[in-house]
Structures are given as structure tokens and as C-alpha cells.
Amino acid sequence: MEKFVLKYFNLIRTVIAVLIGLVISIFLIYVVSKDPGFSLQQMLLGPFLSRSRFSSLIEGASPILLCGLAIAVAFQARQFNVGAEGSLYLGAAVGTAFAVSTRMPAFLHIPLVLLVAAGVGAVWGALPGVLKAKWQGSELVASLLLNYVAYFLGLYLINFHFRDKEAGYLVSYQLPQTAWFQQFIPGTRMHWGILISLAGAVLVYLFLYHTTTGYEIRMTGFNEKFARFGGIDVLKIVVLCQLILGFLAGLGGMTEVMGIHRRFNWQAQPGYGWDGVVVAIIGRNHPLLIIAASFFLSYLRVGGQVLNLMSDVPSEMITVIQSVIILLITAEAFLARWRYRITVRQAERPEAAA
């Protein structure tokens, strides 16, 4: 048992943090709601109670997953770029503009549109990286400010040049069918973009843990000075990991447009970039764990929507829960004493000494 705890300590810690988050939310719901039992049931079980809700859990995880991978690549190099939101928004806006103004067969259109969106996202994401590598400017602050700039640029592009005036509300023209992701299960909105996200997770895993560049990224994050003395071009890594961040985030935004809405309809920022930060922290920057974290966050999100719809508790409760969870997970010393005690006990055992 104790060996098990030591081996999977980080995972157990994460699970405990999640449980504490849920306990706090239960407490809050009891304070807030007139019928707490019902509200709680709606939040926790609601996502599984209908086919459309369950499918929106799966669909919703897709952009979160790509943004989580994006953030994780940068965080692994200890680059606190939180610009996934900006790259996603601007990438999807330009990608939409490109898709509605070009005509070609689907086998060309889909990859090209994705490439345009991801490319724009990559350039945007790399800007704070260039600032950091060249002049030691804070990539965190730069990416935050650029998120706003990207938002207004994307909004301008869609509202002034690609707005469908017949739609009745502020959206872009519909994408031509050749740039659609097919929804493959009738009655749901599940689309092929989800497979791109999952494949992305596997690729990012292989990249980070089984290639030289991936090793260089992790080493830069682990100890930058050491990495530099070991001959790693740290400045190149700093820019590269943020370029990849923007690329993945742009991809995440475009798959959502191509698979779900088929129009650019985000008048406000959708927040997937921040969800990406959340799942990267919950998944401890590990691509495969981030898959699980994305489905978990999407589950909470759908639960929040159900809560909003069916009970007297606002969906923002979910934001409170997720912030408590990531706060606990980032706290290195949380449960550290417990591990320390177990380690000592293990070491003092006679068979361990032998």
C-alpha cells in the first residue's frame, strides 16, 4: 500500500485535490441552493443523463485538449506563455476568412484551412517567445496583452469583412461544405476534429518524450543554465515551444469552427485557452494525463450548464471549483509531509535496509 502511494504520489495528490474541490462545491451548493440534493445530482450526474449532453462532454473536450497540449509544451520549458486564447481566436478568425473566400475540393480544403489557422496561431504565439529570447521581456505579460489584441483583431476581421448580414446575429458567413468536419454520429455533434485532438495528444507525447528536441524542451524547463552548458540552444527552444503552443491553439479553434458551428460565432472569447492552462496544470504538463484532464474539465463544464439550466445555481460555480483544484495541485507542499512520513517509514524497515 505504502509503496503504491509513493509510486503514484502525484496522481493520488491530484485525485485528492479534485475531491477537495468537489467537497467545497458541495458545501457551496448547500449554501446557495434551495434544493441542494437535486442541484448536486444535476451537476454530477447530469452530463450522463442524455445522449446530447454526453456527446457535448466529448465534443467540448476537443478544443480544451488541444489548448492544454499547447500550454503544456510551453510550460514544460518553463515558459509561462498563456497566449493560447489569443492564438486560438485569431487563428480561427483568419482560418474562417480563408475558408469562406476559397473554393476547392474537401481533401485540399480541410488541411489547408487547418494549416492557415494553425500557422496564424503559431506566428501569434511565437511573438512573446521572440520577445523573451531576444530581450528577456516577460512572455507572460506580453501574451496576456496580445490576447486582447488578438481578440479585437479577430473581431474586426469577422465583423467588418466576413459578417453574414442575413444571419440576423453577429456571425461570419457559413463555411463551404468542403471545409466541414463531418459529424459522424446522428443526433450528436461529434466530429472528426476530436480524432485530431487525440492524435495531437499522442504526437505531442512522442515529441516531448521520444525526440531530441522534446528532450531539449524539457531540459530547458528543468534547468536552463544546465541546458545551456550542455550545448542546447536555449533561445531557439524558447521560441520554438511557443511557436508550437500557438500552432496547437490555432488548430484547436479551427476544428471547433469546422466541426460544430461551421461559422465563426465567437463575439466574446470562448475561454478555451484558459481551460488549456487548467488542464495542463491538472495533467502536470503530461500529454496523456491531459487527455483525462480535458474530459474531466469538459464533464465539469457540461455539469455547470446543466446546473444553470435545471437549478438555481449559476454555472460559474464550476470556475470556482476548478480554481480551487488547480490551486491545490500547484501547491508543492500540499500532502508533502504525508509522503515524507511514508518515505521515512519505508526506509526504516529492515527489508529496505538489506
Partner: protein, 315 residues
């Protein structure tokens, strides 16, 4: 003369700059003092939001400005204390913990908004008291300066005094000396008996205090209601302002003033035919460009220092 230029060279514009600068300057001082201690607090966006929400709700339900002030400050300092506890005691990375706190503030303020008003958008259904406007007797009769400097909300003057307070704390008190020492070299500070953690905690609490004032001004002075995400990135612009000002009192003041002026200009340009998206973008774009220019200059200065013979090259 062009009517736009005319309105920019008017005393009203000067007045507007001060008004718009205040909710950037106060959190910027908060970022600056924590930055000096080496544990930079980027949760000011969330702290402002939470303080503003607490202030408006307490003001609306008790009709007491004093209670609103106290509640706002308590919430702001409390959030900063939470950040300090997680960073110092529980060894959380301060950036990630601050991101979590910002999310927490976004969520919890909307929950409270909804619980008290039944509306998730704003508190416009409540009537809350607002901090009073101050007309300074002698100042107001000075031509040119009078109309710019007099007749502001009392918290605008508080912000100007806060710059002075910040200078006094950092350069004229033992605590300030300790904060600067800890920020420059924590090991050296520890070796002469300074409690690094306690010093950083004090710096964080002070940053929460400044941020709370900024939030209170925003919703009980600048406007008289609270709305979801009403801070609109001011906490982040404040981070840029503090780093542009090298965390120094006057530097932070002038960089906040620059961003305030840009913001005021954007407000003046708003009625023009230019797409509003571009106008709204200006403050963030200017902050980002200013950050880049500042970083480049700081880098060049460091390089020059290394090249100079006999300077030791410690950069």
C-alpha cells in the same frame, strides 16, 4: 482647429487622464511592491475584481461607505494573504497560484452577483453609494491646473498619495529596506537575519491593499456598479506598467500615466468612424509595444554594463 485636437488640448482631457489612470496606477503599485520583494503578484486583476464586488455589495446593502471600504480592503488583502500562504507555506509557483486566484475571482464574483441580484451581468438593479468628489479650495482657482486637478473622486487623490506612501514605505522604512534586500538577493538577506518569507508576505499584503483600493475606485467612483469582468484587463496592464517603471514609485506612476493617457485618448476617439475594435485595441497594443521597447532598452543597458571594463559584469 480640428475639433478632436481641440478636445485633446483641453483641460477636460487632462482631467480624464487622471480619472482613467487611477484604476491602473493603484494595482500597478501593488504589482510593484510585490515585484520589489521578488515574489511578483500577478493576481491584481482578480484582487481588484473581488474587492470591487465586495465593496459594491456591502455599499448597496448597508448604505455605508466606510463598511464598503473596509470590506473591499479586507477582501483584497485576504486574497493576497491566500496567495502568500500558497506560495510561501505550500510552495506553490506564484504565477500559477495567481492564475488560479484570478479564475477564482472571476467565478465567485459572478456567483455572488447572481445570488444578490438574480442577474449575472451587473448590479445595475442595486443602488450603491459612491465615494465623494473632492473640490480643493485653493487648487481649483488656479487656471489650467485647477480644472485638471480639482473635482476628482477622493480615491483619485488617494491614488496620488499612494505613490507617496509607496515611496515612503520602500525607501524610508525598515520594512522597505528589507523588501528591497529580499528582492535583490534573498540569500544575502537571509544571511543578515532577515526573514525572507515574512518580508515577502508583508509585500504581498500591501499589494493586496493597493489592488483593493483600485477595485473600489473602479466600481464606487469611476462607475457606480459592479459588472462581470469589469476590470477588463486593467490588472494586466498594471503588471506591464510596473515592469516599465522598474517597480519604482515615480517610474510606475509615469508608466501608469502613459497607459491612462492612451486609454483616455481611446475614449475620445470612440465616437469617430474608425472601427471600434481598433480603438478598443489601442491600450493593450500600446502596453505590449511599450513592454517590448522597454525590454530591448533594458537589455542593451545590461549588455553595455558587461562590456565596460571594471564593472564586474554582474547582470
Amino acid at each position: 482647429m480640428n475639433p478632436l485636437l481641440k478636445s485633446i488640448f483641453s483641460t477636460e482631457f487632462g482631467f480624464a487622464i487622471l480619472r482613467v489612470t487611477t484604476p491602473i496606477l493603484l494595482p500597478a503599485l501593488g504589482v510593484a511592491i510585490s515585484g520589489l520583494s521578488g515574489a511578483v503578484n500577478i493576481a491584481l486583476e482578480g484582487i481588484m475584481l473581488a474587492s470591487a464586488c465586495a465593496g459594491v455589495l456591502v455599499s448597496a446593502f448597508t448604505h455605508s461607505l466606510l463598511l464598503a471600504l473596509l470590506a473591499g480592503i479586507a477582501v483584497g488583502v485576504g486574497m493576497a494573504a491566500l496567495l502568500g500562504y500558497f506560495h510561501i507555506k505550500l510552495k506553490a509557483d506564484i504565477i500559477l497560484a495567481a492564475i488560479a486566484l484570478n479564475m477564482f475571482a472571476t467565478g465567485i464574483t459572478i456567483v455572488f452577483l447572481f445570488l444578490t441580484t438574480g442577474d449575472k451581468g451587473s448590479t445595475s438593479s442595486l443602488t450603491s453609494q459612491v465615494f465623494p468628489v473632492l473640490h480643493i479650495p485653493l487648487l481649483r482657482s488656479i487656471p489650467m491646473l485647477g480644472p485638471i486637478l480639482s473635482g476628482h473622486n477622493v480615491l483619485v487623490y488617494a491614488a496620488l498619495l499612494a505613490v507617496l506612501l509607496y515611496w515612503l514605505i520602500t525607501f524610508k522604512t525598515p520594512l522597505g529596506l528589507r523588501i528591497r534586500a529580499v528582492g535583490q538577493n534573498p540569500d544575502a538577506a537571509r544571511s543578515v537575519g532577515i526573514n525572507v518569507n515574512r518580508t515577502r508576505m508583508w509585500a504581498l499584503l500591501l499589494s493586496g491593499f493597493f489592488g483593493a483600493l483600485g477595485g473600489l475606485y473602479l466600481c464606487l467612483g469611476y462607475v457606480s456598479w459592479f459588472g462581470r469582468n469589469i476590470t477588463a484587463g486593467r490588472g494586466w496592464i498594471a503588471v506591464a506598467a510596473a515592469s516599465l517603471g522598474s517597480n519604482m514609485p515615480m517610474g510606475t506612476f509615469f508608466s501608469s500615466l502613459l497607459f491612462g493617457a492612451v486609454n483616455a485618448l481611446a475614449n475620445y476617439l470612440a465616437p469617430l468612424a474608425v472601427p471600434s475594435e481598433f480603438i478598443q485595441m489601442i491600450p493593450y497594443l500600446v502596453a505590449a509595444v511599450a513592454l517590448a521597447v522597454y525590454s530591448a532598452r533594458a537589455m542593451r543597458k545590461r549588455r553595455r554594463k558587461i562590456r565596460e571594463p571594471g564593472s564586474g559584469g554582474a547582470a
